[in-house]
């Protein structure tokens, strides 16, 4: 066994020497790539199991069993689905705009994955710790609509086009309410950096999270997030009963799979952002509870963020199993005439709170 130990030690020495010999820029790129892999691979697996749990939970809520054929209790179902999508033929409609038709799924997926760069996972782990992180997230999520519009237009199909139009109008409408809700978070957190926003919620206990002083904004943000990702009950862009499947009606196989991945990555992003902005991100809910101090329950970690994200993911599935679809004019009314006024009023309320120094603005916090 000695020769093996010495060989491993030699290899380690060689590796450290090679690492030090690399130029600074190359090392930076390698570390960044590694960080991206560490984030993206669990994200894709999370998307796969999101679909599995969605089918299971919606099944249970509706008194059905859900997928239970592939693997034990159907746990291998998502992999079977991915395999099926990959080996299907990619059909390009004859009168479509070929280049844009093939580019649209990629255009949808790239911003959906790129946004994750600025989302902090725990105290030390964020790929890009940028000062204008919140603006970056807003900018990239607003680019996600291009994939949908391009898919709808390039398919040269009336259903797809209708779905794309509905989707684009909906996203543009709810982005404004979302942006205003984030202005409130910005006022409370005092920073555009997501890590700093979480750190601003670090206080004595759960009561210092932003969800309490900003409760209306929390509701507006999460519901707008559901609408922004075109999820039930706001899924008129897909509307199976009226326009078949909306913007991706002409897509099959892996093209459809990429849209699916982008949509679910965006949903998980909304849960992560809601947890970060309002529920203290990676902070523990048991911090400050007497008797628990210094145990693992009171310490901040990625596990708490994952737990909060899971809670919101469950809400996504719950909504889908419970609510009937909104009518289109009701969606627009909710976005423009209800949510935007609520956010504007609450920003004014926050101004008063800041002037009187209550909540997150209290002196000395």
């Amino acid at each position: 066994m000695d020769w093996l130990v010495s060989m491993v030690a030699d290899f380690e020495l060689w590796l450290t020497a090679a690492w030090v010999a690399l130029p600074e820029a190359v090392r930076f790129v390698l570390v960044a790539l590694l960080k991206i892999l560490v984030l993206i691979i669990p994200l894709i697996i999370a998307v796969a199991y999101f679909t599995y749990w969605e089918r299971k939970i919606v099944g249970w809520i509706q008194n059905r069993i859900g997928p239970n054929r592939v693997g034990w209790q159907g746990v291998l179902q998502p992999f079977a689905d991915v395999l099926k999508m990959q080996i299907k033929e990619v059909v390009v409609p004859a009168n479509s705009n070929r280049f844009l038709f093939l580019a649209a799924p990629v255009v949808a997926l790239v911003p959906a994955l790129a946004v994750w760069a600025a989302v902090p996972m725990s105290e030390g782990f964020v790929i890009a710790d940028i000062n204008a992180g919140l603006l970056y997230i807003l900018a990239l999520t607003s680019m996600g609509v291009y994939g949908v519009i391009l898919a709808g237009w390039s398919s040269n199909s009336k259903y797809a086009f209708l779905g794309a139009m509905r989707c684009a109008a909906q996203i543009v409408a709810y982005e404004i309410a979302m942006g205003f809700a984030l202005v409130g978070v910005l006022m409370a957190g005092g920073s555009l950096n997501l890590g700093d926003i979480v750190r601003a919620q670090e206080g004595t206990s759960v009561l210092s999270w932003f969800v309490w002083p900003l409760f209306p904004l929390f509701l507006v943000y999460f519901i707008s997030g559901v609408a922004e990702t075109n999820r039930s009950p706001f899924d008129v862009a897909e509307g199976e009963s009226e326009i078949v499947a909306g913007f991706h009606v002409e897509y099959g196989g892996i093209g459809f799979g990429l849209f699916f991945l982008a949509e679910y990555a965006n949903m998980i992003l909304i849960t992560a952002l809601t947890a970060t902005f309002f529920l203290g991100g990676w902070l523990s809910p048991f911090a400050g509870v007497p008797g628990l101090a210094d145990t693992w329950l009171a310490l901040p970690s990625f596990g708490w963020l994952a737990l909060k994200m899971g809670l919101f993911c469950f809400c996504f599935m719950w909504f889908r199993a419970t609510f009937p679809r909104y009518r289109y004019d009701q969606i627009m009314r909710l976005g423009w005439k209800v949510f935007i006024p609520i956010t504007i009023v609450w920003i004014a309320v926050e101004g008063v709170m800041a002037a009187l120094e209550i909540g997150p603005w209290a002196a000395g916090v």
Partner: protein, 199 residues
């Protein structure tokens, strides 16, 4: 070195995209080329450490303005042939305007600013320098009146545009959502109790 390579590649794509905007026959393609041009110029601004402006350019122009423009362009039925009819008649006006613009750009770049300081590369700011904070502190202190007046003018423009385009046609049917929400079961459904028929 790397930033020079990045600059030239972004600039090259920007030029190609800008040419595509005016040469492509399909208006949707032209709009998409414009989106690409915006994204590339945002990348150029990022290289110049103007990250706030770069992100806002993507947020406002790519994320909102161009989406609405695409929306309109996709629904138009543009006849390209009839658009090209007057080309030879108007070409001299276009040529004169193009020449003027070229002369002005040349004037600014070569004559007016020759030997000035800002042509040399400025020293980069330290890593903890926040572009957003600096812009905000200038906007909300020194230029606060200009900023607020600009905001009021924009708000006025929004209100004016809505009032100009909102027409109340007579006989228009609309839903009263408050009434719809307030409806109870008793208003719509009547439960009737009756004896089962005998025959």
């Amino acid at each position: 070195m790397i930033s020079t390579v990045l600059f030239y590649s972004f600039a090259a794509i920007l030029l190609v995209a800008a040419l595509g905007v005016i040469t492509s026959r399909n208006p949707v393609h032209a709009a998409l080329f414009l989106v690409l041009a915006f994204v590339q110029s945002a990348a150029l601004w990022l290289l110049m450490e103007a990250e706030f402006l770069a992100i806002v350019l993507v947020l406002v122009y790519v994320g909102a303005v161009m989406v609405l423009l695409l929306f309109v362009v996709m629904m138009l039925d543009i006849n390209v042939e009839s658009m090209r009819e007057g080309f030879t008649r108007y070409v001299w006006i276009g040529a004169v305007v193009a020449l003027l613009v070229a002369v002005e750009i040349g004037h600014v770049v070569w004559f007016r600013s020759s030997g000035l300081q800002f042509l040399s590369t400025p020293a980069p700011f330290p890593a903890d320098y926040s572009n957003t904070r600096e812009l905000g502190s200038v906007l909300y202190t020194e230029h606060v009146y200009a900023f607020e007046i600009a905001a009021i003018i924009l708000l006025l423009a929004i209100v004016a545009a809505i009032t100009l385009t909102m027409r109340r046609r007579p006989g228009l049917k609309a839903q009263n959502v408050a009434k719809q929400v307030a409806v109870r079961r008793e208003d719509r459904v009547r439960l009737v109790k009756m004896d089962p028929s005998k025959d």
